[in-house]
Structures are given as C-alpha cells and as structure tokens.
C-alpha cells in the first residue's frame, strides 16, 4: 500500500522528477522552554550566590581593613584636632575616640563616632555611640554599637569576650580601661540594656560607670541583639601614654 504524501511536500521538476521533501523534525518547544528556564534560573542563582558571598566575606574583609587603617592613622600629628573632646560632640559622625579590644586581635582598633546610623557611622567609621547615653568615663552607661557581619563587622567577635577581658577607650585627654562584666542576648526592643543603670546587669548600682557594647545576633540573621556590659576599671591621662599592655610603642 502506497503511503499518501502531502502535495505541499512534493516538488515536481520540468523533467518529471518528483522531489519528496522529508518532514522537518518536530519542534520540541516545551523541552526547549524548560531548558531555557532552567539555565536562566541557574545563572540567576549563581549571580545571587556570588553577590551574597561578596557582601558577606570579601567586602566585609575589605571594609574591616579600611576601618582599621583609618583608626590607626587617625588623630596623629596634624590630624589630632579631628579627635574631638567628648564634651564637644553634638552632631552625628563626629569622632571622639578610639577603641582597642585585645580579644579581637592585637592589631584591632576602631574609631568611635557619635550616633548609630549606618551611613556614615557604622558602615564607614566602625563604632557608633548611642545618642543620649553617657560619654567615656562618666557616671552612667557609655553605650556603643557596631556591625556584627558586613561592613567590616567591627564587633564580629563580641561573643568571645569573657571575664578578665578589657576594653580600652582612647579619647583626646584620657584612656579609659573597662573590664568585662556580663553578656546577654536580648530582643531588639529591649532598650533598657543601655539605660544609665542597666537593671538586667547583675549587681548594677546607681552611680556606676558602665559601658555597653551591642551588636546583632545571630550573625547574618540579626533577629536579636548581643549585649556586653563592662565597668570602668582605670583612667589614665593621655599624656602618660597608652596602657603598657596594649604594646602600642608609645603612640
């Protein structure tokens, strides 16, 4: 039995030769569409993954180095005038101090500025002072915040602070040495932790000279805040030089 042929698929030449065109392979549009969608999703996923990796690790590391170098080089020589007296700080981002935390690394240092806005304080400078809380050395609570992850993560290692650790705050006239007291995880709305007398701090008393460090936790999730309380242990005149244990070489 002869197979019927679609006339449109047949070409007849002048000499009578008939050309029967083979049917084109059937287009598998669904398969191709699925492949296209899949490949697009993979591409987008890879781009997103690279972006997240960049923000979380590469940019974080680069910003950390920049903040550290800025802190080490700030306030020396001709720049001394830029380190304001704490009593003269009235505006956001005015830099009035520098912090050293040996537990975070022997070379770790960050500048402290007024306010806790991301830009320009936390993202570029490093550590922000809660507006309205006490200044270093004063009675009350000197409260500061810094990033945990991203933008240099100044307080990335805050969870490692333990009893016996000290935090050094350098201002224009004095060095303030605070000793570790306690760590607590709280809700972001629990602002009582930066009160003049933080009641959640065991043994806190009116008239105490406290320091509170806050940062986000868990890292990169940020649903809570990690709080570290410290107490003023020692005050050293800047003219006497930095505390020996910091090994700053008389800077």
């Amino acid at each position: 039995m002869q197979k019927s042929t679609n006339p449109s698929d047949v070409t007849e030449l002048p000499d009578g030769t008939r050309i029967i065109w083979a049917p084109l392979p059937k287009k598998r549009t669904g398969r191709q569409a699925l492949l296209a969608v899949g490949e697009t999703a993979i591409t987008l996923g890879l781009i997103l993954a690279l972006f997240v990796g960049y923000k979380a690790f590469l940019q974080d590391s680069l910003v950390a180095d920049t903040q550290n170098q800025k802190a080490q080089g700030f306030g020396g020589g001709a720049d001394q005038h830029k380190l304001r007296f704490p009593s003269q700080v009235h505006k956001q981002a005015q830099i009035f101090g520098r912090m050293y935390v040996p537990r975070f690394g022997s070379k770790w240092t960050r500048l402290i500025a007024e306010g806790t806005r991301w830009h320009p304080v936390l993202n570029e400078i490093g550590i922000g002072h809660y507006v309205g809380t006490s200044m270093p050395g004063e009675v009350g609570n000197f409260a500061v915040a810094a990033h945990r992850g991203g933008f240099g993560g100044a307080f990335k290692e805050i969870h490692r602070l333990v009893a016996g650790d000290k935090v050094y705050v350098e201002t224009r006239n004095y060095w303030y040495v605070y000793k570790y007291l306690q760590t607590k995880i709280v809700d972001p709305t629990d602002t009582s932790v930066i009160d003049r007398v933080p009641l959640e701090l065991t043994g806190s008393v009116s008239g105490g000279k406290y320091m509170t460090m806050t940062s986000c936790t868990p890292i990169f999730v940020n649903t809570h805040r990690i709080v570290v309380w410290l107490e003023l242990d020692q005050v050293i005149k800047a003219s006497d030089g930095p505390p020996r244990e910091l090994n700053l070489g008389g800077n």
Binding site: G30, G45, V52, R117, A145, H147, P188, N222
Partner: protein
C-alpha cells in the same frame, strides 16, 4: 498548555513569591529610637535562600528537560 509551560509558570510564581515574602536584604538603616537597639547587621539569609531555590529549580528543570 504543555507540561513544560506549566512547570515554567509554576517556577516563576515560586521565585516571585519567594522574593516578595522575604524581608529585604539590607534593612533600613535608621537612627535607633527609644524603641529599638541599633540594627547592626547585614541580613543575607533571604538572598542566600533565593539563590539556593533558583539553583535547585534550575538544575531540576535542566535535568528534567534532558531526560524527557
């Protein structure tokens, strides 16, 4: 509507839905008020999750398309 189109549409809805439901990657950086402590962290898990979903869907689709 073919099976492939249905799958493609479903994936689009899933991706779009995930992006809409998840909070923004970088939260608003605002001066802390008396109501909250400073927001001091980049929240990267939503983007990580979206990236994972996209990669899983993508590899799944490619595998399915090559198999059938």
């Amino acid at each position: 509507m073919t099976k492939a189109q249905v799958l493609a549409n479903l994936s689009s809805v899933l991706i779009l839905g995930t992006a809409l439901v998840m909070p923004p990657v970088v939260a608003n950086a605002s001066e802390p008020t008396e109501k909250t402590l400073a927001d001091t962290g980049v929240t990267s898990w939503p983007l990580s999750l979206i990236a994972f979903v996209l990669l899983a869907l993508g590899f799944g689709f490619v595998r399915f398309a090559k198999k059938y």
